[in-house]
């Protein structure tokens, strides 16, 4: 029995899984469709809640992939076949690869904010997404409006594409709440004269130090939180935006002009994930993300022996959780290849 494992997806989860598997003595090929590894996390400037530079984390994971991992960037998987020998993975460029086990770590896509037409992304000049804001931070650019002015008031809109039946996503994307709080702080840090208003339905500060970050945003940075989902956004003659929401804490509709709107876009499954799940008859949840065999005890396994899942391909997850999950996957894969029964 060979010890060949193919990891599909070169984001945080895929890289971590590949590194861990290689450490465990496997022969690992990491496939990444882009021309570089790092995934989404490579685009983030600083990470919540500690605001540690994202690059630090990516660098660490990349370093941890020993030279034994064969990284193939620019490789798109066209099909995965399960046969008696194991798996054959076909690529759009080059020969098919075979492996004993395959780890799917294809992650997620950011919600296309244009689908929330009423928010005007792609139509109004001063509506951007949280990912674009992150890019501004990462590139060290100054946050300005479309016509180059320093915004006096910025609105951060939570739950864009999440918890919204109207765009078909009932689920919560988990990380946007704390991302919004982090970015609110960062805007205040960069532009002390700029007021920041966060429009939220709930603030789900689910993990350690998240609530403290929220507290810091209120206490130290004076970020204003208004409980109410944005209903619609309209543009003024000067390209500033009018936000309409209900201030649910007073029970009254509220309208406010802001110079810039940041949409905190959620997670959606990749279309490729759908193709893989159709191909291998994998289970997906109503949210479209892949489901493991058992959410508690076989949370990295699929119904296909030898095929494992890691990270946000199973649904919204933060980087910390993705790393932990990918490491767990690696252990499972090793046990599978060694023919060991995993009792836990």
């Amino acid at each position: 029995m060979n010890k060949k494992v193919i990891v599909v997806g070169g984001g945080v989860s895929g890289m971590t899984a590949a590194g861990a598997l290689s450490e465990l003595g496997m022969e690992v090929v990491l496939l990444e469709k882009d021309d570089h590894t790092g995934g989404h996390a490579g685009n983030w400037d600083r990470l919540f809640p500690s605001r540690r530079p994202g690059k630090e984390v990516i660098d660490f994971i990349e370093k941890s992939m020993s030279s034994t991992v064969e990284i193939r960037c620019g490789s798109r998987v066209t099909s995965i076949d399960r046969n008696t020998e194991g798996f054959t993975v076909n690529l759009h460029n080059g020969d098919p690869l075979t492996a004993e086990s395959v780890v799917i770590a294809t992650g997620y896509e950011l919600f296309d904010a244009r689908k929330k037409e009423e928010y005007g992304y792609g139509i109004y000049d001063n509506v951007i997404t949280s990912a674009e804001l992150e890019a501004i931070f990462k590139e060290g650019r100054q946050l300005v409006t479309h016509n180059g002015k320093t915004p006096q008031r910025v609105g951060l809109i939570h739950c864009v594409g999440s918890r919204d039946e109207k765009v078909g996503n009932l689920y919560c994307s988990k990380v946007c709440c704390v991302t919004g709080v982090k970015q609110a702080i960062e805007i205040r840090e960069m532009l002390p004269g700029c007021e920041v208003f966060s429009f939220y339905m709930d603030l789900r500060m689910y993990d350690r130090n998240f609530e403290e970050l929220y507290y810091e945003a209120q206490q130290k940075w004076g970020v204003n939180f208004i409980r109410g989902r944005l209903s619609e956004c309209a543009e003024n003659p000067d390209h500033s935006l009018i936000l309409k929401t209900e201030d649910t804490l007073t029970g009254r509709p509220l309208k406010m002009t802001v110079d810039l709107v940041v949409l905190l876009v959620g997670f959606v499954p990749r279309p490729e994930t759908r193709i893989i799940s159709d191909m291998l008859k994998l289970q997906t949840g109503s949210d479209g993300f892949l489901s493991p065999v058992d959410e508690h005890f076989k949370d990295n396994s699929t119904s296909v022996p030898g095929l494992f899942l890691a990270g946000a391909v199973k649904g919204p997850a933060c980087i910390v959780n993705s790393i932990a999950d990918a490491r767990a996957t690696a252990v499972q894969v090793k046990a599978y290849i060694n023919g060991e029964m995993v009792k836990w």
Binding site: R114, E117, G122, Y124
Partner: protein, 359 residues
């Protein structure tokens, strides 16, 4: 504003509109409010576009106005609509075209209901048989008359005598488009361009030479809202809605407002008078109002029809300044003459809102 963003959204809301052979149903109220509009639609369809549009005098109200005023139950409304379909079926047509937006919304709502609840459709068919002995086919295509004009907007432009250009400045006219709420807010996919940035009127304005104004309260209701107007005590709310829109659009200095609903032009036009009387406010240049047009009236103007044949003389806000801007000639002396040349009488001048004085 990024127009390419809008275009990509418009692309997603492409609606199928029948090419010919329309069964046309009229609005209950439009012939009173804007008496030239429906007539102009038929005239354009026949004379310019050479289409087969069938009308049957025995069609009734769709009962939408009663339905939205909480006096007609849905079951009743569905049966009445079923009868309209029966008349269409009997006439051998299958493309249903309505003049009224609320009708259009109600037809859409009923067809959607039947789609999801076939048993309801069955029950309604039975009601119709019980009441009239009629049966019907559902329309193959449902369109609002503005959809049809939208479809042929380029043909109209090609055959037109005028464009929406200010002849004094050579610049495109600035136009507010106002879509009836029941057009696509309930079923975005049923309207051209969807609900957020509807394209049905914007497309006409673009192709006829004007510029569309995107103002903050673009989405807001004209204020009719059925109950809001029909009950006198609520009319202050109706008026407040219109005022909100005017306040929001005024900074853009619109040359006119284009509408596709029976109620909207009525209220956007008449409330300008009420607002001027109550508060002394006017929204156009030099104490004038902002003219409000139906899409048929505008199409007629483009095609060079006589303004008084289009019924523009019954507007509260005078349209002459707009006609002058475009360069459409008109005979002021004929403004208040009936079709057979008699004087129909002239309204009293409002206290604030300026009557147009032709020099």
């Amino acid at each position: 504003m990024k127009i390419e963003g809008k275009r990509s959204i418009w692309k997603e809301y492409q609606k199928e509109i029948a090419d010919d052979r329309y069964f046309y149903v009229r609005s209950c109220v439009r012939q009173n409010f804007f008496p030239g509009s429906e007539k102009t639609f038929l005239r354009i369809m026949k004379d310019v576009l050479h289409k087969d549009v069938f009308e049957n005098a025995s069609h009734t109200t769709c009962s939408g106005i009663g339905y939205h005023s909480d006096v007609v139950p849905f079951e009743t409304a569905m049966t009445m609509v079923a009868r309209q379909f029966a008349i269409m079926t009997e006439a051998g047509y299958e493309n249903f075209t309505t003049s009224c937006i609320t009708s259009f919304g109600l037809y859409s709502e009923i067809l959607e209901t039947w789609h999801h609840f076939p048993e309801v459709e069955e029950r309604v068919r039975q009601h119709l048989i019980n009441a009239t002995g009629r049966t019907f086919n559902k329309p193959a295509n449902l369109a609002h008359a503005s959809d049809v004009i939208f479809k042929f907007r380029k043909e109209i432009a090609a055959g037109g005598m005028y464009r929406l250009i200010n002849k004094h400045t050579g610049k495109p006219l600035q136009v507010v488009e106002h879509i009836g709420c029941h057009y696509s807010k309930m079923f975005p996919a049923k309207g051209v361009g969807g609900a957020e940035y509807p394209y049905v009127l914007a497309g006409m304005i673009e192709d006829w030479g004007g510029d569309v104004i995107d103002y903050p309260e673009r989405r807001h209701c004209c204020g009719f809202g059925f109950r809001q107007y029909l009950i006198q005590a609520n009319r202050g709310y109706s008026l407040a809605c219109s005022k909100k829109k005017f306040d929001s659009m005024a900074p853009y200095k619109p040359d006119f407002i284009l509408t596709n609903c029976p109620g909207c032009p009525m209220f956007l036009d008449r409330w300008q008078y009420a607002l001027s009387e109550m508060e002394g406010i006017t929204y156009g240049e030099n104490g004038l109002g902002i003219p409000v047009l139906t899409y048929e009236e505008l199409a007629g103007m483009i095609l060079g029809y006589d303004p008084w044949d289009l019924g523009l003389q019954v507007h509260q806000v005078p349209v002459e300044p707009l006609l002058d801007k475009i360069g459409i000639p008109y005979d002021s002396k004929r403004k208040f003459l009936t079709m057979d040349g008699k004087m129909m009488g002239q309204p009293k001048a409002p206290s604030h809102l300026k009557f147009y004085q032709h020099e």
